[in-house]
């Protein structure tokens, strides 16, 4: 048993080592922010970190599983009836939607404008893991293997949730629309007024930027994605205007909105592959 610790260890001094590591960190950060090269390193490292996230998520998903499997027959029957009714209603709406869609594309062809095709979607689960306190990010259990790509929009049943910012082999990170770093091009559904909605960092608030004081916008208006910039598909609901504060001394009105998507409660999200070329879309529909 020897527990002798060397008092005079040879090798580079600790100050020198610290300097080297500081230099590497600074370099890594600059490259990470300015260029995309670090994404490969990040995705490899996050594969190693995935077990940790998986274990952290396990108790939460176990509780969900328990509550699912322990719910009574009566409750399940009721839920089933409700879902069946809902399904019937949605299907009848979808019928009309299909005919409208064909009509729309025919009209667009007549106008010689590009034909918009439908989107492909995939359901992903949110992992119950907490990321940095200062950001509104979430982790999904689908990654590059399922075809997730950088900048991909995510939705829930009620509206736009955000977009993918890191893609890893079997998981990915998404930024919610309420993150202060996030902005989404939107338009008012009622009159087509265009604006940009940014996150405020608060859990349930968006802000619309650069709205003139005399713009036609009022509380209760629905705002939908405008598709400008090509990142988000057109026409998905984003938020509902909460308040419009006009201060004549300011150049712009202060407009706040509440996101439609259940950002804090969702367990499942939809990943969207927007606007594939028409012929490919026909093939995938034929496959279904």
């Amino acid at each position: 048993m020897s527990v002798i610790k060397p008092l005079f260890v040879k090798g580079p001094s600790s100050v020198a080592r610290l300097c080297v590591f500081l230099l590497i960190s600074a370099l890594a950060m600059v490259v990470d922010v300015r260029y995309q090269h670090m994404e490969t390193i990040r995705s490899v490292l996050s594969l190693a970190m995935y077990p940790i996230q998986y274990v952290v998520n396990a108790p939460v998903s176990a509780v969900h599983w328990m509550s699912d499997s322990l719910s009574s027959r009566q409750a399940l029957l009721e839920e089933n009836t409700k879902l069946r009714q809902q399904n019937l209603m949605l299907r009848s709406q979808a019928q009309r939607f299909a005919s409208l869609q064909t009509e729309n594309s025919r009209l667009r062809e007549l106008l010689d404008s590009s034909v918009r095709a439908g989107e492909r979607v995939l359901v992903a689960d949110l992992l119950a893991v907490e990321l940095a306190l200062t950001s509104r990010h979430v982790v999904l259990n689908k990654g590059a293997q399922q075809g997730v790509f950088l900048g991909q929009p995510i939705l829930d049943a009620d509206g736009v949730m955000g977009q993918i910012i890191h893609v890893n082999p079997i998981s990915s990170t998404a930024m919610l629309i309420t993150d202060p770093e996030h902005a989404i091009p939107v338009q008012v559904n009622r009159n087509g007024l265009r604006a940009v909605a940014t996150g405020t960092g608060k859990a349930n608030e968006l802000e619309l930027l650069h709205i003139p004081n005399n713009a036609d916008i009022k509380a209760g208006d629905l705002i939908v994605s405008s598709g400008m910039g090509g990142r988000f598909p057109v026409g998905y609901p984003v938020a509902q205007i909460l308040s419009v504060t006009v201060d004549p001394s300011q150049p712009y009105a202060r407009v706040t909105a509440v996101p439609r998507a259940k950002l804090m409660r969702a367990r499942e999200v939809l990943l969207v592959w927007p606007e594939e070329p028409l012929d490919q879309n026909l093939v995938s529909q034929a496959d279904d």
């Binding site: 600790s14 490292l45 893991v129 990010h137």
Partner: protein, 165 residues
């Protein structure tokens, strides 16, 4: 480094496991009320090992550990790694002094180290133009100082029982 064979490194897995547990605690979902007060688990564990076994856990391992936190939290790669390396440097440099301090005094020193890390991260975030979150950014510091004595006692007992040296 000719002394190397004299040191019998044993039970190193305890160190790794404690770090993994710290990473789990870092990413564990918490109720909304206490969310902002989540202690800096990873840093506390790193400081303990740097203090107790400075010949095994130092700047390099601290940096790597910080990189893991960066990946887990989705922050810039290197943001936490840099702070962790600095904290590891300070902790290994002063380990002989703070080891013999009473616990409350240790907590204060640990708090100072955490503050340096957070200040560094704060500056880096400022340079990278990441928006400020206000005073709530510093809440983990208070929670960490309060928790240090417990972290210290638990890890010390673990280290003694498992004879990690």
């Amino acid at each position: 480094m000719s002394m190397k064979p004299l040191i019998r490194h044993n039970n190193g897995w305890i160190i790794v496991v404690s770090m993994i547990v710290a990473l789990m605690l870092t990413s564990m979902p918490l109720p909304e009320i206490v969310q902002n007060w989540r202690p800096a688990w990873a840093l506390l564990v790193l400081i303990y090992w740097c203090m107790a076994l400075p010949h095994r856990v130092g700047i390099g391992s601290g940096w790597l550990f910080g990189l893991c936190v960066d990946v887990l939290q989705g922050s810039m790669l290197g943001q936490h790694a840099m702070g962790f390396a600095v904290v590891a440097f300070i902790a290994t440099t002063v380990h002989q002094r703070i080891r013999v301090f009473p616990l409350w005094q240790q907590s204060l020193i640990v708090g100072a180290m955490l503050a340096i890390e957070m200040l560094l991260t704060y500056l880096v975030r400022g340079i990278a133009d990441i928006s400020d979150v206000g005073v709530v950014y510093w809440a983990p510091l208070v929670a960490s100082i309060m928790l240090w004595p417990w972290v210290f006692i638990i890890l010390r007992d673990l280290r003694r029982k498992a004879r990690v040296y």
